[in-house]
């Protein structure tokens, strides 16, 4: 069990599954196809030993000291660069969509895929801790989708994307949308090799999200403000949210839209077309 958020996930198994439209009739259990791959190191029964943390302690002689100075995220960064090279070679625009849970990433994708399917070949990688509900919603639009269940992992990592790409086999000159796990903290630290990172907030959240999660905003290139159809009913101040975002990031482009009513979606499509270079 994960003792931090109490999510009750028994182990750290990552599951990657291709979800097809025939499987969209609403059950959320796994179908057992796809392969498993042990990612995080497993944990058994917690044997407590006293924390040993003598700051700056010296190393004993007679043993080999390896001064490695190695970046802990180095392996992820390297794999992310592999992915980036793959995308560049195939002229694929890969977007990493990040937000808090419920901001509307899946809703935005559903509408986008429906509207753009005759314009671009579109592919989706869905990150989710447990279920394949989102992947089923995506598959229903006709887009090719691979689900990554991260188990207790609260973010996607570059090697998961690498594995998912082997199943997805995206075509040249296509769009790849990666829906990250709903979380504004650690997805910021894990480069997936994407061409751009898009952060989504909705007007039902606080305007101060950017200053609460500065890393996420700082590493994003576009900020989408979703659910603007609800603006008459909430106290969300759009200009204030933008001001906060500008404080902590280089984001100059904001797109206000409603994935539900479709208002503002054309601006998002224009942004995509510009990115793709059409």
């Amino acid at each position: 069990m994960c003792g931090i958020c109490g999510c009750g996930q028994p182990d750290g198994t990552i599951k990657i599954t291709k979800v097809s439209a025939e499987h969209t009739h609403g059950h959320d259990h796994d179908h057992g196809h796809g392969h498993e791959h042990h990612h995080h190191h497993a944990h058994g029964n917690g044997r407590h030993h006293a924390p040993h943390q003598h700051h700056g302690g010296s190393f004993q002689p007679g043993k080999t000291v390896l001064q490695i100075e190695q970046d802990i995220l180095g392996k992820n960064n390297l794999l992310a660069e592999h992915n980036r090279g793959f995308f560049e070679a195939k002229n694929i625009l890969a977007l990493n969509l990040v937000s808090s849970p419920g901001s509307g990433k899946t809703a935005l994708l559903e509408r986008t895929l429906t509207d753009l399917k005759n314009e671009f070949p579109c592919y989706v990688i869905e990150g989710d801790q447990q279920t394949s509900n989102d992947a089923s919603r995506i598959a229903a639009t006709g887009a090719e989708v691979v689900q990554i269940n991260t188990g207790k992992g609260c973010h996607l990592e570059a090697d998961m994307i690498n594995d998912a790409l082997k199943q997805l086999k995206p075509a040249d000159d296509s769009l790849l949308f990666i829906e990250n796990v709903g979380n504004l903290v650690c997805p910021a630290m894990f480069d997936l090799g994407e061409g751009a990172r898009v952060v989504i907030i909705s007007v039902t959240e606080g305007e101060d999200k950017p200053v609460k999660y500065p890393d996420m905003f700082h590493s994003s290139q576009l900020c989408i403000i979703n659910k603007i159809d609800l603006l008459p009913y909430v106290s969300f101040d759009v200009e204030k949210a933008k001001e906060y975002a500008r404080r902590v990031s280089h984001i100059t482009e904001f797109i206000e839209l409603s994935a539900t009513t479709g208002q503002g979606m054309e601006q998002w499509y224009e942004w995509l077309r510009k990115k793709v270079g059409r």
């Binding site: 931090i4 190393f59 080999t64 390896l66 992992g153």
Partner: protein, 113 residues
């Protein structure tokens, strides 16, 4: 809970080094972690025990060197200690700061035998 993935990456690095050095165990490991690296200390502490179980780091002494955040204001040029990421410049209040130190996430050294 990315602390657990960070620990998993540290374990990977340690296992690779042990193999390369044809060693049996890791006696101690020295980490450098910046105050602005997005690591929650209490979570790291908690997750460590879980994360290193049945790995080469299970009985390893761990030393963490915490590196304070340091930034330079892009507007007025003054350098200051940054406690929280994107704190404003204490002199002119600007939020446009270049982070000089504090984002480190490194395995500095290992002692193997």
């Amino acid at each position: 809970m990315h602390e657990l993935s960070i620990i998993a990456s540290i374990v990977d690095i340690a296992e690779e080094q042990v193999k390369k050095a044809s060693a049996q165990q890791v006696d101690s490991i020295e980490l450098e972690i910046g105050e602005l690296a997005g690591v929650e200390w209490a979570v790291l502490e908690f997750a460590w025990e879980v994360g290193v179980q049945r790995s080469v780091l299970e009985n390893t002494d761990r030393y963490i060197q915490r590196i304070p955040g340091k930034a330079r204001c892009v507007e007025c040029g003054s350098s200051f200690l940054m406690k929280q990421i994107f704190d404003p410049c204490p002199k002119c209040g600007s939020y446009f700061n270049e982070i000089l130190k504090g984002k480190e996430l490194r395995v500095k050294a290992l002692t193997v035998s």
